[in-house]
Symmetry: C2
DNA sequence: GTCTATATCTCGATAGAC
DNA sequence: GTCTATCGAGATATAGAC
């Protein structure tokens, strides 16, 4: 990806998050990225293509980050905990990107992502949980239900921790406590 | 609210959910509602006013439904369970409306709702949880954290249960099981 | 690849008759 | 209150020079 492409994605992220897909004309994205309107459409044939490219870019970054943080040497509980904790750290350190993921998710653009790609995004998490069920460390629930319980707690906790009133220096303790509660709920 | 107003809100809901705020022109809303463009703007001065009125209308309906379902005679656990279960029933029976709430939540329109109104929406739930903490039935966690744990599980479970592949006749059993897990996590 | 200039279109909102 | 007709603004996307 060349530099101008990155600038366009960065500008698009900021503006989409601040003003929504609707409230953000391509002309403003180009202006904030410091490129011309024509250049934007050179890289992305349509506005929707840009919206989707931004989503895929962010998803790829999150996925790479989690892969780097969650190694394969630890116990299953530790790997699950790392996955939980680092998802939250990433979200809190990349709030615009995390918000964009959710904004995208509740928009008609989501329908443009193929089901296979969607499935691929949670595959690694599902495998981890499946391993836990088979090792009889986790309750024998449907693996998708376990995934729902874990990931919804990540999303909810993010809302709680990112509230302006919440003191940043207490984040880590709450995250640890929340994982302990979660683990108590899903462990066999 | 007069009949045409209801028709406009109904049409707006269907179209916003299907095509997003962006993809839904007021002209299409008016057409689907069977009224003229001018009539729509007679009831709602701007498109945004319509978007917000629809949100408040849906929120009011959900709130009224839950108040009717969760009486004051039951034990705290029962009231919490009823609140959890009926939130899910309502969401599953009113999927467009529930989706709209979330779509609105992840849009810049949310900023147009005053913090007092937002706070009012969760007040009754927070009171219930506070009562549980004081009666030493629930863990002595911050009440907002407890609320986060409960409500995020509602949202997550909704996604799980509303998936097209999920058999409708198994919904109730999963909801009961999920509440049991949740209760185990938050009870003292 | 990047720019300027612009075509084409559609949208939100208004005016005014009934 | 409801309609028809329409305006002006601003949107996406393209054309073509450099």
């Amino acid at each position: 990806m060349v530099e101008k492409e990155k600038q366009i994605l960065t500008a698009a992220l900021q503006l989409f998050v601040a003003y929504g897909f609707h409230g953000t004309p391509t002309s403003k994205i180009a202006a904030q990225a410091g490129v011309s309107n024509g250049t934007l459409f050179h890289y992305y044939k349509t506005k929707e293509e840009l919206v989707i490219a931004l989503y895929n870019d962010i998803k790829g970054e999150l996925s790479a980050y989690l892969s780097a943080q969650v190694g394969g040497q630890d116990s299953l509980e530790t790997r699950l905990k790392k996955s939980f904790i680092h998802s939250l750290y990433w979200a809190l350190d990349n709030q615009e990107k995390f918000y964009y993921i959710q904004q995208f998710h509740f928009s008609p653009h989501l329908a443009k992502i193929s089901p296979e790609v969607i499935a691929g995004q949670s595959r690694v998490h599902l495998q981890l949980l499946q391993e836990g069920i088979e090792a009889e460390l986790l309750k024998p629930l449907p693996v998708e239900l376990l995934f729902t319980l874990v990931s919804s707690q990540v999303y909810g906790l993010y809302q709680y921790l990112s509230a302006p009133a919440f003191p940043i220096d207490q984040r880590q303790a709450v995250i640890e406590e929340a994982f302990a509660l979660l683990w108590g709920m899903i462990k066999k």
